[in-house]
Symmetry: C2
Subunit: 679 residues, 2 copies
């Protein structure tokens, strides 16, 4: 008896011997090699494409001769003619083993393919969607065995795909019978593979082989904007993305004003629930139209959001989130159906909410944790998601702590005299000349600095309209660096600063950034009140981080990740000058972009990541800033804008700041914080 | 160390020793004695009432002295004053063991109490509802442990009631927070205890102790009428029952005409779905109003119906049920939510459909099997549910066979010249005088026979309007018994019968039952066509039963159960004279009343009965009459109306029929069946 041929799969390295005539797909399945197939080896779907290699493979201890696989057959020929196969490719279900062979499974033929992420340091997303397609051949009805069509379809899924205990949505029962007959008892079904709470369930059915895909939505529901990504659940690809303003803004700009609206108005919460659901429906319609897909093919949606948005979308009055002890209705992950939330996707499309971490640390923070994985980091990493509330995570493989801190809206340009949202015309980058104390800046929509001769022309459409969140941070940091603002946060007089851009403005000084009045534009200034707002916001953020460091028992962190759309635009250098974040090597301060949105996408594309983040969140140690006396203490200490010799020696290795303090007789009402001004 | 006291519970006989001071409820729980409690032993609900017995109990080997239980306490006193306790009763959670004691658990204190059934031979229904009430004390929120309110409620259910993995409906999330606070963290919840497909789930929540109940609907959805029983899930009691006409009647009287309507009209199935759901909603509203309960307290509903009604209620086009091979969309039991079917009960109220047995043998037949338990009978029992289709079950503990037979609507008074539905004025009982050959009869709405002098007055409101289904059976059987009809089914001439009530009517003779024309009423006759219709119907029924007997390998059955509202009115004697059912001792032919409705009630009140009937139905051997050649053979043989010397010797021990056959030259077109007329 001759020895059975050896089959080696790359890149997995899995190997085994198989009788001559074994299809490669069969060999792959027996070895647990990740080779895709929708049609189950019937030569229909072409998902099982593989590339045989020929020649000497000392690494694998095998020599592959011509004829190691069966000859190109009629099925492959037909597929080649109809659709084309890449050079060297074979169909794994058609090519059979004839001799020792090395088989490469290209990425696109893997079920659990990796989804491309833009950031180099970002962890891979391995595709493992909630819902997959299966082609089956169903037994015909028989009067001798009066089983239902569904039961025979379930039998086929069990026998042909080892799917046990599959149920069906009522809409499948309602539509299945003509489809089975149209497909002559051959159909493709989309099966939600089940989860912690639900059995596998048939979501869609098509006659014959369905050559399309099913889709999911990853939704980042923010207080201000709702962003959604439409993903192909078969490839992991983002087909279309878009965002809209959260229509709840008309009930209040920030979270607390929405909670107040609900408290003050009977039915207010319900109004806001309806508004946000309408907004989401509109967004879904727009994105599906852009991608040109039928909305009922969207079978899964993942939501990340802060607790107030979470409750309002679910139709829960956020009343309790507005007052201590900030009790969530539920903190666990939720598995719902689209119709529960009036979403306009597949009628029983699955909806997943990531767990909330605490009353102020929501599913968005959980999504950031899923994207940034502090729990898998050897280095101690501080992850800060900057928004109206800052969510802060600190941890490493040992443990992860979380808190939120009420930064207020100053970082978003609100409550700043010349502040505005990030939009064309808004100042986003600033440098102040050390000698002239004059600023130059960039505005959104232009790549030129304001001292470029072509700048005026470039921005003619908008003019310079105000300062956005990242702009105000750079502005205040630059003002501090160039001695225009002192450590306690006072803007100096023209005499003190040597700049006639400083001018008396009520009882304190302001700083003129840009005067556009001659062109009908605004006069953009930074007032001492603006400095105070930024001080409060950054003190809140810093204090939260510092509190977690106390709890962790550390004085410094190895790495800082700035998350959030805003985080993406902050200059790490200026953030540290301002004392927003604790000291860390500048190259270790990075932006994660919209990490919450990325976390939503991971949970959408990799359903096992859901159990993972649920376990992670259960293990996170929650710290409530509101009841920690040390938070107040840190807050008071953190209001000053640091320099090299401040008690918290931040950034001393990176930039050296002039040690300046203005001794003013007047000044704004600054309360106790003034006490800490150095004299 | 003195010995711990012995506690003996009756009627269970469970016994054990317990330390002095152990509450009786605790002892009962440890022994697994079925003693109810909603409040968990807090002296609130009074469900745990028990009766201690004192004196000598040789049977239990114990003497109970005064002082065997702790003294009557303040909690019992308060309850006594507020609500009253029956003489001798104690609260099991308050009374503690002080010495050896015998404790009787009265039926109303048992969780799994037996529900009263009217029929003596009927099996008990043991209460074991899907949804039960639990009083819990929930931990308050704490900023140091930011769990959600739901999670703390779940913890309380786990710790205080050992309920694991409880989920909550979204509506609970939406309403729970103020209720928890109103109840000061003490609440009563209604929990659906879960089933084969679903985890336990909180359905309702009330502040403090809720002294009410939750409810269920048992629905028998027939082609003609929809009947529903509102049951208290805590007591098993039927609070209100009602029925309405199935509004689908306007689309067709019988099943096949509704299937045709759907085939002939685009959207026809959807119209019928909408109609029946509307009808059910109206019925539910009416019944809930009658019982004075809030419809959202109805948390469970069970439906039994034939396959066409089943599919139409579910929104499935019954097209496939109208043609071989009669493929059901699904034959398994279904667990749905009220909103899936637009029912106006609790928004996520559970809905259960019993399994269908085959394409023509529906969930109604399964319900009959659940009620009548042929699978648990030592005797071989034939269960016949008579309607437009007859569903027939034959079996014993060894096996059960099932089929359906197309009897047509004649048994319901349709297609009979003077036929009508069962309604006041319809003839329902008949006797024909052996000498005068004149009938006397009773009509629905009157207890008097028509030869009673007060009869005319009694029925003045309606007059005599026609003959209902059970009336026509008695009529034809009596006509046969008195020699007015011969065995092949011909009505004799006045000369042949000796009755001038027989008159030539076209080419055959008819028989005058009642002439109401002088009072403006109808002239009620039985035509030879009517006899033919009844012959066809009874032959179909008989042939189905006979086919099952062949398959079982028997010539006779031990017992016959007539189910269905119609079955309740059939006279067993006349049914056997007619040859509707196989021979059996008359005292063994009984009516089960609305067995399908009873089966629905069992599945509603005893949720473990659901798994039981699902297993039973899987084991039932289905016989398809349409493809069994012997069915045709039996049918042809069965068209004659039997007498003592017919080949199938029916009833020969009970009544003796004159052996009469009319030799007519003319006669109606009777096809092949005429061949079997004896000459």
């Amino acid at each position: 008896m001759s020895k059975d041929p050896l089959v080696v799969f790359t890149p997995s390295g899995k190997r085994g011997t198989f009788p001559v005539g074994t299809p490669i797909l069969t060999a792959a399945r027996q070895l647990g090699v990740d080779l895709d197939s929708v049609c189950g080896g019937r030569g229909i779907c072409s998902k099982c494409q593989i590339t045989p290699s020929y020649g000497e493979f000392p690494k694998h201890g095998v020599t592959v001769a011509d004829g190691a696989l069966s000859e190109w057959n009629a099925v492959e020929q037909r597929y080649q003619e109809k659709r084309g196969l890449k050079e060297g490719r074979r169909l794994g279900c058609q090519a059979t083993v004839q001799g020792d062979v090395v088989i490469d499974v290209p990425p696109e033929s893997q079920v659990h393919k990796q989804v491309v992420r833009k950031r180099a340091e970002a962890r891979e997303i391995v595709l493992d969607p909630s819902t997959k397609l299966f082609y089956v051949e169903v037994a015909e009805p028989d009067m001798h065995d009066p089983s239902g069509d569904l039961e025979r379809l379930r039998d086929a899924l069990r026998q042909q795909w080892q799917l046990e205990n599959v149920t069906a949505d009522l809409n499948i029962l309602q539509t299945m019978q003509p489809v089975l007959r149209k497909g002559e008892w051959k159909v493709t079904v989309a099966v939600h593979l089940g989860d912690a709470e639900n059995r596998p369930c048939i979501m869609h059915i098509w006659p014959g082989y369905y050559d399309g895909s099913v889709y999911g939505m990853a939704v980042d529901l923010g207080s201000t904007t709702i962003a959604a990504h439409l993903c192909d659940l078969q490839t992991g690809e983002v087909l279309a993305s878009s965002g809209v303003m959260n229509p709840q803004i008309r009930f209040g700009e920030d979270l607390m004003s929405r909670v107040s609206y609900s408290m003050m108005n009977a039915g207010g919460a319900a109004e806001m629930t309806q508004a946000v659901r309408e907004g989401i429906r509109g967004l879904f319609t727009q994105i599906a139209a852009e991608a040109g897909i039928d909305k009922t093919l969207i079978v899964d949606a993942v939501f990340v959001c802060n607790p107030v948005m979470h409750h309002l979308l679910l139709g829960i009055d956020p009343f309790e989130l507005g007052q201590a002890p900030f009790a969530l209705a539920t903190n666990n992950a939720l598995r719902l159906r689209a119709h529960d939330l009036d979403l306009n996707i597949h009628p029983s499309g699955r909806v997943y909410f990531l767990p909330c971490i605490a009353g102020h640390v929501g599913a968005d923070a959980a999504a950031v944790a899923l994207s940034e994985n502090p729990d898998k980091s050897e280095e101690l990493v501080l992850v800060v998601d900057v928004g109206t509330n800052a969510e802060i995570l600190l941890g490493n493989t040992e443990k992860v702590l979380a808190c939120s801190s009420p930064t207020g809206p100053a970082f978003e340009g609100a409550q700043i005299s010349s502040g505005q949202r990030a939009a064309p015309g808004a100042i986003e980058r600033v440098e102040i000349d050390p000698v002239t104390k004059a600023p130059r800046f960039k505005v959104i929509g232009s790549d030129l600095w304001s001292d470029d001769p072509a700048f005026e022309e470039m921005i003619a459409a908008t003019g310079v309209t105000g300062i956005c969140g990242s702009g105000i941070i750079e502005m205040v940091a630059e003002m501090r660096m160039q001695g225009i603002v002192d450590a306690p946060g006072l803007i100096g007089s023209p005499e003190q600063t040597g700049s006639d851009r400083c001018f008396l403005d009520g009882r304190t000084y302001s700083y003129l950034v840009h005067d556009g009045t001659d062109k009908g534009g605004p006069r953009i200034t930074v007032t001492n009140r603006d400095i105070r707002e930024i001080q409060m916001a950054k003190a809140a953020l810093y204090s939260g981080a510092r509190l977690l460091m106390d709890k962790f028992g550390v004085d410094k962190v190895d790495r800082v990740t700035l998350a959030g759309a805003f985080g993406a635009h902050i200059s790490p250098k200026h953030a540290m000058v301002l004392g927003m974040i604790p000291d860390a090597p500048l190259e270790k301060v990075t932006s994660a972009g919209n990490a919450a949105g990325t976390g939503a996408r991971i949970a959408l594309l990799n359903s096992s990541a859901r159990a993972e983040i649920e376990a992670t969140v259960r293990a996170i140690h929650k710290v409530e800033t509101a009841i920690e006396p040390r938070f107040q203490e840190h807050f008071v200490n953190a209001s000053a804008i640091p320099n090299a010799v401040e008690p918290f020696p931040i950034l001393n290795s990176i930039v050296t700041l002039p040690d300046v303090t203005f001794n003013t007789g007047g000044g704004d009402s600054d309360g106790g914080r003034r006490r800490r001004k150095r004299v």
